[in-house]
Subunit: 415 residues, 2 copies
């Protein structure tokens, strides 16, 4: 027995390609973690006829439906009306929700436009879900055989309300499938080669199920088990991981779902090493990803975005002679940038990137996509070049950032 | 008459919340731009039964269906089989696709695993769509009354193939609705207040349609018109924009779909001003967004990510006395950081951020979310503080980045 779920995201801006739906993915992860089986996401526009069909179909198929969007105060926010139409009754005005909404706006010194009254209307039989970080309440209502939850589309509000209202309610439903997952992170083979190596584990219907996700040059082997209890599911995942590790050998570089920068920071912290960065074509992306990690200040000293030759000289002490002789995009300059950052930030380890992201700036000897890297330690500095395919500025930049994570995972860090 | 489209994204990792679907949004934008009306996205897992239903339903509803994912070489890649089942015939082996695939792998010095043979199999009646930047061909096939296009899920491959194969084919279909859009960018009011101001324009069924998207503190008024010709649609959008501008007044800060950083760079370029950045809690995010913009090197000199007090002193020349007296998160230190960056990078304008992103580091006087900003010009430096709500490290950082864009859009830049 399983409890199935579907996720709906409502909004013209989504379905016409103006805004990216990140809510559905997040909700799916949270529901799966407590044992629901998510079958489908549907993203639809604000057209009431289309929306009514989408809601009706989802509520006919799944045990739990979580919908986001269309709860704003403006005329194109129609979710409340559509659900009321589906249930065949009128919207009703919820005084407590209105009081909260007025209080919220007044506390911020903002006027209370009449249009906001719309946000305190609920479909027949709906239970309001309080919004502690915004104006619009969500609601929960039985729609056919499904429990339908409707939340605001603003990610922050949706997340707080899913965790505060939806997950506790759903976690108490009978029939949840105890689930566990375990991820093995792989660096080295192509997806096809990895798939061949672990093929027997990927047969359909296997429990634990094993799948491969390729994302940004990185491969993740995702093991998902269902069992009678959460503990049994964990054990099953662990057993499968035990069988997979010998097959992966050196390809395996980490376990868990942490992003690459976090795995790098963990490695540096374990080695008691501090890091500084000297970025040119990666523009601060490496520093920005590091600073995203809570507690990184014990590892990360800082960095320079040396986007011009002047700044490479002034901020990092790269000798003018090197720049003149070899050019900014060269291994000697990358090495000097890394050494300069290491000294100026007093770090154990420093990395540097300097390259041609495009579309302009390429030449015959140094085409667009040529990026030089360096890693400086007390023992010395190593510099190398990668010819990244010219598949656009963002691609070159992202591939260069990935090369730094790869180097910081694989290169020796000790003095 | 309209040509409707639906978009499918296939993959367990998507529907179980492990990976974010960015393809569907991108495809929707491209299809809408040539006049299709996108009705729905569906994201489904790899289960063959579920997938068959999803494909069958979409092909029964829409004129054009674009599906991504499930074309890899491993056992969990089932799209080819599902479509063949839907069409009621066997897969067939396409020799030219196989030759391309082998050549692609050999050229990269990689082995050709047998599992890749799967990728050269096509459903009955399907026309292969060559993949110039990867191994798996896509395909086009008539499925019921729909033209079904299936592309790889790897974003880069999908984008090249959509533009190379799908858009030209679809652009030639009869009945496309000439469409145009125009965006007005608004900074100032809440979404509700803006919605009240322009309410008559947002009535359902209006052509041009007017909608409001709220994203990252920014509001976009999106005007979309359909008409007999593209030129007429453009005129209709322009006419509506003409009626809206007086209603928006000072709230209107830009037009078009450029992201904020690009609008900022355009403003700086028009003023002939160069920029340097001194970032602490924003960690390089501002620099990274700027470097994303082609041609930014004429405006952006570079930046420092001064993540420690030492680096604020060493790299930016912030006096130790200021740090001791006021602390790193203070207006005097922010001002000194901006002035230091301005001098060291030889820029006309410099900005600085220094704050407490959390979860640690807060105090009674300076709770988590306290961020100090500064903008330095030849005429002097202005520093100010914003108390950002503590809604997580990423939220504080993003709000701080947004505050810098706002300042660079609204503050005077001249000497």
């Amino acid at each position: 027995m399983t409890v199935t779920a579907e996720i709906l995201a409502v909004g013209d801006e989504l379905v016409h390609g103006a805004l990216l739906d990140t809510n559905s993915k997040w909700i799916a992860g949270e529901l799966e973690a407590i044992g629901l089986v998510v079958r489908r996401f549907t993203v639809a526009g604000d057209d009431p006829e289309q929306l009514r069909i989408v809601f009706a179909e989802a509520c006919a198929r799944a045990d739990v439906v979580v919908a986001t969007g269309g709860l704003g105060p403006t005329l194109d926010d129609r979710t409340r009306d559509v659900v009321a139409g589906l249930l065949g009754g009128p919207l009703w005005f919820d005084e407590p929700s209105w009081d909260h909404l007025c209080g919220w706006l007044r506390q911020r010194g903002r006027p209370v436009p009449d249009s906001n009254r719309r946000q305190a209307m609920l479909p027949p039989g709906a239970v309001p879900l309080a919004n502690p970080v915004g104006t619009a309440p969500g609601f929960r209502v039985q729609a056919g055989l499904a429990q339908l939850f409707v939340l605001p589309g603003v990610p922050r509000e949706m997340q707080v309300m899913l965790q505060g209202h939806v997950l506790p309610f759903v976690a108490a439903m009978p029939g949840l499938t105890p689930t566990a997952q375990l991820c093995l992170r792989v660096l080295g083979p192509s997806e096809a080669l990895l798939g061949e190596r672990i093929e027997p584990f990927m047969a359909p219907g296997r429990n634990p199920a094993v799948g491969i996700t390729a994302s940004g040059g990185l491969l993740t082997v995702r093991i998902v088990a269902t069992a009678a209890t959460r503990a049994d599911a964990h054990s099953a995942c662990a057993a499968t991981a035990g069988e997979l590790r010998p097959l992966l050998g050196d390809w395996l570089f980490a376990e868990g779902t942490a992003e690459l920068p976090e795995i790098v920071v963990q490695r540096l912290a374990r080695a008691g090493a501090t890091l500084a960065v000297a970025e040119s074509c990666t523009g601060g992306t490496i520093a920005a990803r590091l600073v995203d990690i809570a507690g990184v200040s014990s590892v990360f000293r800082g960095g320079v975005v040396a986007y011009s030759n002047d700044s490479k000289r002034e901020l990092l002490g790269v000798p003018a002679a090197l720049l003149d002789t070899h050019g900014a995009v060269s291994e000697p300059v990358a090495a000097a940038m890394a050494q300069g950052a290491r000294e100026r930030f007093g770090a154990d380890v420093a990395i540097a990137t300097t390259g041609i992201a495009g579309p302009d700036g390429g030449s015959a000897q140094k085409p667009v996509g040529t990026v030089c890297f360096a890693l400086a330690r007390a023992a010395g500095v190593r510099a190398w070049t990668v010819r990244i395919p010219d598949l656009g500025r963002s691609f070159v930049r992202d591939r260069a950032v990935f090369e730094i994570w790869r180097a910081l995972l694989r290169e020796p860090l000790d003095a």
